[in-house]
Symmetry: C2
Subunit: 110 residues, 2 copies
């Protein structure tokens, strides 16, 4: 099942930072892993991914290095220290967000 993109939008940063926190990855690979892990709920397009990665790099949350593998040039992205901090922050925000939605959906008064 695919959810409306308005929902999955906005979680891209958290997802990418999280994936990169486990191992360095290149763009194409990030798209595949994201789809695999989420069971196809998150399918980020290349047109979204690459500008996004460049922006994260500009903000200093990730950096990158080129590496040739079986003749193909790949650009690997790696989480920086600032990126690791940003990830922690995002994960906490995610938890807060989910709890808040839970309260609304269950209709609790507190």
């Amino acid at each position: 099942m695919k959810v409306d993109k308005e929902l999955s939008k906005g979680s891209h940063e958290l997802i990418l930072l999280k994936l990169l926190s486990r191992k360095d990855m290149y763009g194409y690979q990030l798209i595949q892993e994201m789809a695999l892990l989420s069971e196809d709920v998150f399918r980020m397009s290349q047109g979204s991914l690459y500008p996004f990665l460049h922006a994260l790099e500009d903000r200093g949350l990730i950096d990158s290095y080129a590496q040739a593998e079986n003749g193909r040039e790949r650009r690997y992205y790696r989480l920086t220290t600032a990126g690791r901090r940003a990830l922690e922050d995002k994960e906490e925000q995610w938890a807060v967000y989910v709890r808040a939605m839970g309260r609304i959906l269950r209709g609790e008064t507190t």
Copy 2:
């Protein structure tokens, strides 16, 4: 705590439909209830809300009626049958979305 708006964006439709499924409400009231129930995690601005409500009305998910209360004119919004269906759909999508994010954050291979 307030989460980055990129996260809370996209949940507006689900939240509004859910609130209206419990009782008819007017715009200002929706903003207040949303903030109260979410403990200030979701603070929708008027500049977002009213165009949003009009759009939901155009799509037939809600309708509205004016009602005067202590001299003040209020426009109450009410969920339609189509709106109720949309809400069910959105709630299911929300569950799918949260599960998928959970898998990614926990790093499960399946």
